[in-house]
């Protein structure tokens, strides 16, 4: 497979997400998540090209990509029914056991910094099989030893009903797998231009890694072709600014 040399960091993130979504039938994406949405659109386009089963993409808050007619509760019901295979969660803080904090830093409730709140994370993290933790900023203030507030826990005791959970962690510097048994992340690959040393310095928790971790692969040519063809057109409908900036970036490359 030929690579498109010099894919931009965002292009690599999008292509990596498309890879992580291989095999899903239905992926839901939050309203202001253009990179996950682009990754999901790329996955859908790749499946069509490769003759794989169709991928359904629900973008919350989008009228065009809204397959729901039962109000705000339908996303959660749909996930409970096992009809959503993948979802993205972020976090103001994420720790080494994949706990996420969307509420704030300091002592709850009078937190020093308050973030919007947990949204549906405390539910969806339990019932969506492939939750991809996505946070571009890879810094010690985000990747902490222990979150100050657990919006949703990364793992649960064996007796707890849980059909979903963390599947991977994607940041601006690298891609991690999560081992539920060992409750620990393992670095799968380092994005081009970054290093294991840099990632270690930017991560407040310990993680497994090879002595010389792999580099995150460049997008395949076919993926780049689709991304800058139909995916960019689809993206422009919901995220016009983002689509335009991706296009400009490529033109300047």
């Amino acid at each position: 497979m030929s690579a498109a040399p010099g894919a931009s960091p965002r292009e690599i993130l999008i292509a990596t997400i498309a890879d992580l979504l291989d095999g899903v039938r239905h992926v839901a994406v939050g309203a202001s998540s253009p990179i996950p949405a682009a990754g999901a659109m790329l996955r859908r386009a790749l499946n069509e090209t490769e003759g794989k089963p169709p991928v359904r993409l629900s973008i919350l808050g989008s009228v065009r990509h809204n397959f729901f007619t039962n109000g705000g509760v339908e996303l959660f019901d749909c996930a409970a029914q096992g009809r959503i295979d993948a979802f993205f969660l972020g976090g103001g803080q994420i720790d080494g056991e994949a706990n996420i904090n969307l509420v704030g830093t300091g002592t709850y409730p009078e937190t020093d910094v308050r973030w919007p709140g947990s949204f549906g994370s405390a539910y969806l993290y339990f019932v969506v099989p492939r939750v991809i933790l996505f946070r571009e900023e890879h810094s010690p203030r985000v990747f902490v030893p222990k979150v100050d507030f657990v919006s949703a826990p990364g793992v649960s005791d064996p007796g707890t009903f849980r059909t979903g959970g963390p599947y991977a962690l994607l940041t601006g510097k690298g891609l991690f797998d999560f081992d539920k048994e060992r409750r620990r992340f393992a670095l799968r690959s380092v994005h081009p231009g970054h290093s294991l040393r840099e990632i270690e310095a930017a991560t407040g928790f310990g993680f497994d890694h090879a002595a010389a971790p792999a580099e995150t692969p460049q997008p395949r040519a076919e993926a780049m072709r689709l991304l800058h063809g139909r995916v960019l057109d689809e993206l422009a409908e919901t995220y016009p600014d983002f689509a335009a900036s991706l296009k400009d970036e490529r033109a300047a490359a």
């Binding site: 309203a31 202001s32 808050g61 009228v63 729901f68 007619t69 039962n70 109000g71 705000g72 509760v73 339908e74 959660f76 409970a80 969307l102 509420v103 704030g104 709850y108 409730p109 009078e110 937190t111 020093d112 910094v113 308050r114 973030w115 919007p116 709140g117 947990s118 949204f119 549906g120 994370s121 405390a122 539910y123 969806l124 993290y125 339990f126 019932v127 507030f149 657990v150 919006s151 949703a152 826990p153 649960s156 005791d157 007796g159 707890t160 009903f161």
Partner: protein
């Protein structure tokens, strides 16, 4: 009784201390009612955000009208965090009841159905649950082995308040596929709706329009307020006014500028 009433009359139907349910920014927010509420000096409100809120909650909180916020999130979306909410959290001037979206829905649906509670998966091991003394964890009585499950008690708002495109002269309200607006109305003791317009005909008359209609049975008062969701979007009608949202966000970050914003909103001469 005329089908629609002036907004200040509606504001008087929302008593101080009321448990007030309001929808998320995309579902039909009655921004038109913010000024009338502040003008009548509303205070002690217990906001139930269904399941999140934005500029409406932020203004009400910043203006001192709110005692408690029960929500899964408060955010201005692309315009950033909710400044007045964040200040109130830090200073401890509001009571927080942090939730997760389906828990808010579950509480309302329990009230809709006269069920004392609904069970909800998830939540176990979260600090949301740890801080909700009003929730319970039981062992699922249908499971052979230990199977803890959270119970969310019924959540019956005193008032549900939202904005919709249209009502007819019988008091039926068009809610389209925003079924959470119906849930709010079913669950609440009273429901107040502002609309863009009153339409001719009967929304219940055809199968087509009835499917997207909240029957008058659940609607206690209606006010006409064209553009009444702005700067939030109204589905099928208008988009978010991003510039106005950013202008609010900028003002709200500074207490003095926020006060000017509220004064302008309520028609008072700024100091």
């Amino acid at each position: 009784m005329p089908i629609s009433q002036p907004l200040d009359v509606l504001a008087a139907l929302i008593p101080d201390g009321a448990r007030l349910a309001i929808p998320a920014d995309y579902a039909g927010v009655s921004m038109a009612m913010v000024a009338p509420l502040l003008k009548r000096g509303a205070h002690g409100l217990h906001l139930v955000c269904v399941p999140t809120s934005g500029i409406q909650a932020d203004i009400l909180i910043g203006a001192g009208a709110v005692a408690t916020v029960e929500t899964s999130a408060v955010t201005l979306g692309e315009a950033g965090g909710a400044p007045a909410f964040n200040r109130a959290v830090k200073s401890g001037t509001i009571r927080l009841m942090d939730a997760t979206c389906p828990a808010i829905h579950a509480g309302l649906i329990a009230a809709q159905k006269g069920m004392p509670f609904l069970p909800l998966r998830g939540l176990i091991g979260s600090d949301i649950l740890a801080n909700r003394q009003d929730w319970r964890v039981i062992d699922n009585p249908f499971a052979d082995e230990r199977d803890p499950v959270v119970l969310i008690p019924a959540l019956a708002p005193d008032v549900a308040l939202f904005h919709a495109p249209a009502a007819d002269r019988f008091g039926n309200v068009k809610i389209g596929r925003r079924r959470e607006l119906a849930t709010m109305a079913y669950a609440a003791r009273s429901t107040i709706v502002t609309v863009e317009r009153i339409v001719e005909g009967d929304l219940m008359a055809s199968e087509e329009s009835a499917a997207g209609t909240l029957p008058a049975l659940y609607v206690d008062a209606i006010g006409v307020a064209p553009g009444g969701a702005a700067p939030c979007a109204l589905w099928g009608e208008y988009e978010t006014d991003t510039a106005a949202m950013r202008a609010y966000a900028k003002a709200a970050r500074d207490p003095a500028a926020f006060a000017d914003y509220v004064a302008a909103l309520t028609g008072e001469v700024p100091a």
